[in-house]
């Protein structure tokens, strides 16, 4: 960093003014982008504190339906408000204490995502050690196959998933979501790349001292990979917390759907609740993001370059 700064200084001593101007310009660009990036999230949060009447006054023309014949008074234009007229917690109160179905779907989400994150990482940690240690031709070919599988979109992988879950009788059960998630090659790929960066000598040293492979894995390799495992766990969590495709195809019973799918099916009468539900659904990833951002950034950085 300092080398770069001095390099810059050396190069542009006479251009300090222009430089300042540029800094201002870039900062303004950054602020504009930051505003756009944050806007939808912030609006969702502030809207969740509006009362039902305020929501329907603001967005009535969008969500109100007159299917049942009732006349709804709505304004023609949409008012976007950052700050509610009056902060109200009634929506949250209703969601948390009066409408168990949302909490039930929320619980579904946890029930799917929790085991997938934990077991995908357990299996991937083992497999990555297998891939990273004693690389050979066969292993490299298999690893390449993992990469291809990782790159395939859902449109392709859901067909085999569907056939297998029908064949072994887990179609329509939680296992149909769990098992393909647990064996997804994504974490294996990332963690293998992570482990390959550990110098071979570190593990060989333990090996020469007479340690067996399990000992090297659990006492040498695993402690060095904790950061990588955490960052990949975060990525896997975000991905599955957001899942839509799998439940739509593998779970015909919509009672079993996670909140990520159910939220879109919310009916217009409960639209004021939807913002509160959306925020509740946002809280777990938000907390993980705020506490684990550095891990996340590190984990993403490790991915660059498929060749590596």
């Amino acid at each position: 960093m300092s080398a770069q700064v001095s390099f810059k200084n050396k190069y542009k001593k006479k251009k300090i003014r222009i430089d300042n101007f540029k800094t201002v310009l870039v900062t303004v660009a950054a602020i504009v982008f930051a505003f756009i990036f944050l806007l939808p999230t912030i609006l969702t949060i502030t809207n969740s504190f509006m009362s039902a009447s305020e929501i329907s006054a603001n967005y009535g023309s969008i969500f109100a339906t007159t299917e049942k014949g009732g006349k709804v008074f709505i304004s023609k234009t949409v008012n976007l408000k950052f700050i509610p007229d009056m902060v109200s917690f009634t929506q949250y109160f209703t969601v948390l204490f009066k409408s168990p179905e949302y909490l039930f779907k929320f619980w579904n989400s946890i029930l799917y995502v929790g085991p997938i994150v934990v077991f995908q990482l357990v299996i991937a940690t083992l497999a990555s050690y297998g891939f990273a240690r004693y690389q050979g031709r066969v292993k490299n070919i298999i690893f390449f196959a993992y990469i291809i599988m990782m790159l395939m979109p859902y449109q392709v992988t859901l067909v085999p998933n569907f056939l297998v879950s029908k064949a072994i009788g887990i179609y329509g059960t939680k296992w149909a979501i769990w098992l393909p998630g647990i064996f997804s090659p994504f974490a294996v790929y990332l963690l293998t790349k992570f482990m390959r960066r550990i110098p071979t000598e570190v593990m060989e040293a333990a090996s020469i001292d007479g340690a067996n492979e399990w000992y090297i894995f659990s006492r040498v390799c695993f402690p060095l990979c904790k950061g990588g495992i955490a960052s990949i766990a975060i990525l896997v969590f975000f991905d599955y917390w957001n899942m839509v495709e799998q439940p739509l195809i593998l779970l015909p019973d919509s009672d079993m759907h996670p909140l990520s799918v159910f939220l879109s099916k919310i009916n217009s009468g409960e639209i004021s609740l939807a913002f509160a539900v959306a925020v509740i659904y946002l809280i777990p990833p938000l907390l993980i993001f705020l506490y684990g951002e550095d891990y996340l950034v590190e984990g993403i950085s490790y991915q660059g370059g498929i060749k590596g």
Partner: protein, 296 residues
Amino acid sequence: MSIQIPNKLTALQKKKLISWLFLLPSLLGVLLFFVAPFGVVIYYSLINNPIQKEFVGLRNYINVWKNAAFQQAASNTFVFSLMAVPLAVILSLFLAAVMESRIPFKSYFRTFFLSPLMVPTASVVLIWQVMFHQNGIVNNFLSVFGNDKIDWLKSDKAYIVIVALFLWKNLGYNMILFMAALASIPKDLLEVAALENANKWQVFWIVKVRYMSSTILFVAIMSLISSFKVFREIYLMTGDYPYQTLYILQHFMNNTFASLDYQKLSSAAIIMFIVVTILVYAMYAVENWFGKDIEG
């Protein structure tokens, strides 16, 4: 000595065997859930129906290829990816460059740019609907400039909305990849460029972009993959049967799943598999050609 060497070899072989044991759980799972059923998918794509099991060659493929819904979905997906992927690469490179320059509160900006990554699509869908509705915010804003109101999600411009949502969600992730790549460019390379009186533009294109070519490839591939995932946004905003221009491959697959047409489903999956493989391979080839002199 002569006895010890074979002993050592078998010890090494033993260790290698043990390393395969670590792989075993994952290999079994991947075989059962991805590889073996994929074989079945290929098989289904070549027979007339699961009962008669008569070999029909490529007829299923031809049927899918000629299917109007498939053509619509494929061309929509293709057009979308063609717009979204280059934009995602260029804009995230721009964001990474912004993050590289001297701006205050850098770490906050990083957090802000990355934040859409964690937001579940379902949570922001409502706000997107408010924004892009006929009477929505975007139209209100544009009407200031005298533009006519558009019902975005039910018009030919619907894909603009989806490209915007896609970029919103994915730019931060790509930006981090580019930031890591920019940070890994050897400083002496930049010093040399400075000594040779290269201007900023040249440094950027000839040194930085070339040095990052493998990252650009990776970002392009990952963007391509996530561009197939915009189904989430489209589905959550518009349901099973969206406006014509928003009918993409995942809709086609969902509807085919619903009708349990295994032949159609399998052939469509194989066609997509082949197309994705070719695209990824083509990008590799371009990257090899573009960045061949800086390998290593």
